[in-house]
C-alpha cells in the first residue's frame, strides 16, 4: 500500500515510465507469478508426470529385454491387462495387499493412539521412554526384516524359545506356514509403524487445550466420555493425515516382505508390490509389471482424492 503511494508521484516526474501500459504490466506480473510456479511445475512434470505417463503407456506395450536394444516396444492393446487379470496370483496379491494394509493400519493406529494418550500425561522418564519407542523408525526396513526373520524362525527363533519357556506354543510356524505368514508380516509392520503414528498423534494431543478437559471433568464426564467427546473430535484432522499417509506407505509395501518371506511360502505373502517386482525384475515382463504398478497407483489415487475431499469439507 505505502509503496504504491510513494511511487505514484515519482511517476508523474518521468513521463516515459509513468504511462506504463497496464496490459503490459499485468502480463509481466503474471509472468513473474508463473516464474515462481515454474520450478515446481517442471519438477512435478519431470519426476512425477513423465514416469506416470510412461508407466501407463508401458502397460499397453510388449516391453521385453529386446526393447532395451532396439528401442521398439510394439503396442499390444489390452494384452498385458488381460494377461495379468487372468493370472490367479493377481487376485491373491490384491487380497493380501488389502488385508495387509487394513491390518497394519488398524494395529499401528490403535497402539500408536494408546501410547500417545499414555505419554500425554506427564510422568518421570516419560520423555526418555517416548524417544526409545522411536527406535524402530530409525532402523532401515531391510534390517528390521532380516532381524525379524531370525526372531520368528520356527526352531531357533528367539520368540518361539521365549513362548516355550512361558509354556505357550513354542513351535509356532510364524513365517513357514502359509496360513500364518501374512499375519506375522502384518505384526512386524505394525511394530515398525507404531512410532510414526504415536509421534503425529502425540503432537495432535498436545494441541488440544487443557481447559476443555477441566470443563468436562467439572461437568462430571468420565475419562472415556471426555476421550470420545473431546479427544477424538479435536484430533480428527490429525487422524486423517496419519491414516492417509500410513495407507500410502503401507499399500505399496515391498522391502519388508522381500526381506521377511520373499512373497512365500507358496505365495502366501505376495502383494501387489512384490508382484510388480516379480513381473518386472524376475520375469523381465515389464508390460505386466507396469499393469500391476498402475493398479497400485490407481488405488493410491482414489485415497488421495478422498483425502483432499475430506480436507476441503474440513476447511469449510
Amino acid at each position: 500500500m505505502t509503496t504504491s503511494s510513494i511511487t505514484a508521484p515519482a511517476a508523474v516526474v518521468t513521463p516515459r515510465d509513468t504511462v506504463p501500459d497496464p496490459a503490459r504490466q499485468r502480463r509481466r506480473r503474471t509472468l513473474a507469478r508463473w516464474g515462481f510456479v515454474a520450478p515446481a511445475v517442471v519438477f512435478m512434470l519431470l519426476f512425477f508426470g513423465y514416469p506416470l505417463v510412461r508407466n501407463v503407456v508401458m502397460s499397453f506395450q510388449h516391453y521385453t529385454p529386446k526393447t532395451f536394444f532396439t528401442g521398439r516396444a510394439p503396442f499390444n492393446g489390452t494384452d498385458n491387462w488381460s494377461h495379468v487379470f487372468r493370472d490367479a496370483l493377481f487376485g491373491k496379491a490384491l487380497w493380501h495387499t488389502l488385508v495387509f494394509t487394513a491390518g497394519s493400519l488398524l494395529g499401528q493406529f490403535c497402539i500408536g493412539l494408546a501410547l500417545a494418550v499414555f505419554f500425554n500425561r506427564r510422568f518421570p522418564l516419560g520423555g526418555v521412554l517416548r524417544s526409545l519407542i522411536l527406535l524402530p523408525w530409525l532402523v532401515p526396513m531391510v534390517v528390521s526384516g532380516v532381524v525379524w526373520r531370525r526372531i520368528l524362525d520356527q526352531d531357533t527363533g528367539v520368540l518361539n524359545s521365549f513362548l516355550d519357556t512361558l509354556g505357550l506354543p513354542g513351535h509356532t510356524p510364524w513365517l513357514t506356514d502359509p496360513g500364518m505368514a501374512l499375519l506375522s508380516v502384518i505384526l512386524v509392520n505394525i511394530w515398525i509403524g507404531i512410532p510414526f503414528n504415536m509421534v503425529i498423534l502425540y503432537g495432535g494431543l498436545q494441541e488440544i487445550p487443557r481447559e476443555l478437559y477441566e470443563a468436562a471433568s467439572l461437568d462430571g464426564a468420565s475419562a472415556w466420555r471426555s476421550f470420545r467427546s473431546i479427544t477424538l473430535p479435536m484430533l480428527r484432522p490429525v487422524i486423517t493425515v496419519v491414516l492417509v499417509l500410513g495407507f500410502m506407505s503401507t499399500v505399496k509395501i515391498l522391502d519388508l516382505i522381500l526381506a521377511l518371506t520373499d512373497g512365500g511360502p507358496a505365495d502366501a505373502t505376495q502383494t501387489l508390490g512384490t508382484l510388480t517386482y516379480q513381473n518386472s525384475f524376475v520375469q523381465l515382463d515389464f508390460g505386466a509389471g507396469a499393469v500391476v504398478g498402475n493398479v497400485l497407483i490407481l488405488i493410491s489415487a482414489v485415497f488421495a482424492v478422498l483425502y483432499l475431499r475430506a480436507n476441503r469439507t474440513e476447511g469449510k
Partner: protein, 410 residues
C-alpha cells in the same frame, strides 16, 4: 535491489538445473570409452571374490597391454543393470552373467558369438559348452562350474556308526536316526527363490523328472520324498524360508547333521576348525542310478556394443580369463570346479577331498538347456508348487497347478 538480484539468481538456478538435466539425458547416451581401459560387469561383491578377480584381471591386462576394471553389483542386479546400460548405449566390454540368465540377454540380441572372436571350445566338456550356449551358439565362457552335493558332519556320523547314505531310502533312514533334540538329520533350502529350485533339481532330475512336464509322476515322487523327510521330522519345516546360506548356518551351528549345498560354502565352513565335514554325491532314488544335479556358475560374455575393435579385444580378455591357467587359480581359490578338462584334472589331484564334487559336475545338467529364456516362468511356478506341497497340499495338485501356470506363461 535485493529483489531483483533474487529474481535473476533464481532464474539462473532454474536455467542451470535445466541445462544439467538436459545434458545428463543427452550425454547418458553414447558414453565415451577410454582407449586401453576395458570394463567387466560382474557380481563379485564379496571381498574375496572381488580380490581374486582383480588379481586375474591385472595379470591378463598386463599380458594384453591394457587396463581391465571391474564393476561389481549384487547378483540379482546384473541383468537389470546390463539392460539399462544397453538402452543408454553404455554397455561394458564384458558382462559376467549367471548362466541361467545368459539366454535372456542372448535372445534379446545382446551378445556376440564367442567363436567369431577367436575363442575355442577345445578341452571343454560338451555339457559345459552347452551351459554357455544358447540355441547352439557359444556366447559364454565359463571359468568354473559348480553343483550341489551332500555335506555331512563326519563326527556325528561316526558317533552314530552310520555310513554316508547313497540312496533315498538310506538318506531317509540316516536322517531320521541322526535327528536328535535340537538337531535335524538334514537341512536343505526350499526357499521361494532360485535357491530352492536349484536344490530341488537334483532330486527331480535324478528321478527322471523333466522341467517340461512338472506334473509328471517322476517329479511328484521327488516332491513326495521331500514331504516324507518333513513328515519324519528329519527336515525342519523352516526349510521353506531358508536360503542356501541359511542352510549352511544351520549346519555350522550343529542344527543339522547333513545338508545339501554347494562348494561356495567351503570357505565359510573352513572358518570353524572344530567342524569336520565330508562331501558326497547327492543320494539317488535307487541304487545304481546317476545323481544328476544342476550345473551352476557364471559365464563371461561379450555384449554387442557395435565397436568391433573393442569387441575383439574383449574376446581376448575372455580368452585370457578363462585360460587353463587362470581357471585353475580361480578354482583353487573359490573351491569351484574348473570348466577346462585339463585344469579340472589338476584340480582333482590337488583337492582330493572334493572328489565327489567333480563327479557330480560331470553328470550335471544346465537349467536352461531345454527351456532357454523360458526357464524363469518354470522356476517361479515350481517354487510356488513345492512350497505349497511342503506346507500341506498334495504334491500332485500343487505340481499340476504349477504346470498350468508355467505353460500359460504367467
Amino acid at each position: 535491489m535485493s529483489k531483483r538480484f533474487n529474481a535473476s539468481f533464481s532464474t539462473r538456478i532454474v536455467a542451470a538445473a535445466c541445462v544439467l538435466v538436459a545434458s545428463a539425458t543427452l550425454t547418458g547416451c553414447g558414453q565415451d570409452r577410454d582407449d586401453g581401459v576395458y570394463t567387466v560387469l560382474n557380481s563379485s561383491t564379496d571381498e574375496t571374490y572381488h580380490r581374486w578377480d582383480a588379481e586375474a584381471m591385472a595379470r591378463c591386462g598386463k599380458q594384453l597391454g591394457i587396463t581391465i576394471e571391474q564393476q561389481s553389483v549384487p547378483a540379482a542386479q546384473v541383468m537389470t543393470k546390463a539392460l539399462r546400460m544397453a538402452s543408454s548405449r553404455s554397455l561394458p566390454d564384458i558382462v559376467q552373467f549367471d548362466a541361467s540368465e545368459m539366454p535372456t540377454f542372448a535372445e534379446a540380441g545382446g551378445l556376440i558369438d564367442l567363436t567369431t572372436l577367436g575363442l575355442s571350445t577345445r578341452d571343454i566338456p560338451k555339457g559345459i559348452v552347452a551351459f554357455g550356449s544358447y540355441k547352439g551358439t557359444y556366447y559364454g565362457a565359463a571359468r568354473s562350474v559348480n553343483t550341489l552335493a551332500l555335506f555331512y558332519n563326519k563326527d556325528v556320523l561316526r558317533q552314530a556308526g552310520l555310513p554316508v547314505p547313497t540312496t533315498w531310502d538310506e538318506l531317509r533312514a540316516t536322517a531320521k536316526k541322526l535327528t536328535h533334540g535340537k538337531r535335524y538329520g538334514l537341512a536343505l533350502s526350499a526357499g521361494g527363490a532360485e535357491d530352492g529350485v536349484f536344490q530341488f533339481l537334483p532330486f527331480m532330475w535324478s528321478n527322471g523328472g523333466d522341467e517340461r512336464t512338472l506334473d509328471g509322476p517322476r517329479v511328484v515322487e521327488a516332491l513326495d520324498f521331500w514331504k516324507d523327510l518333513i513328515k519324519d521330522g528329519s527336515l525342519s519345516k523352516s526349510t521353506v524360508s531358508w536360503t542356501q546360506a541359511d542352510v549352511n548356518d544351520q549346519f555350522m551351528a550343529g542344527n543339522a547333521a547333513m545338508m545339501i549345498n554347494g562348494p561356495w560354502q567351503v570357505e565359510t565352513l573352513n572358518t570353524d576348525k572344530s567342524l569336520h565335514w565330508g562331501i558326497a554325491p547327492i543320494p539317488v532314488p535307487r541304487a545304481g542310478a546317476t545323481s544328476v544335479g544342476p550345473l551352476g556358475g557364471a559365464v563371461l560374455t561379450v555384449p554387442n556394443t557395435g565397436d568391433t575393435e573393442r569387441e575383439r579385444m574383449a574376446g581376448r580378455i575372455v580368452a585370457c580369463l578363462s585360460s587353463e591357467k587362470e581357471q585353475l587359480t580361480y578354482a583353487l581359490n573359490s573351491w569351484m570346479v574348473p570348466a577346462n578338462e585339463k585344469a579340472a584334472a589338476v584340480w582333482r589331484r590337488r583337492m582330493p577331498e572334493l572328489q565327489a564334487l567333480a563327479g557330480q559336475v560331470a553328470a550335471a545338467r544346465s537349467r536352461t538347456a531345454e527351456l532357454g529364456a523360458g526357464w524363469s516362468s518354470v522356476s517361479l511356478a515350481l517354487q510356488s508348487a513345492f512350497q505349497s506341497a511342503l506346507t500341506g497340499e498334495s504334491s500332485q495338485a500343487a505340481l499340476k497347478r504349477a504346470q498350468q501356470r508355467a505353460t500359460s506363461g504367467n
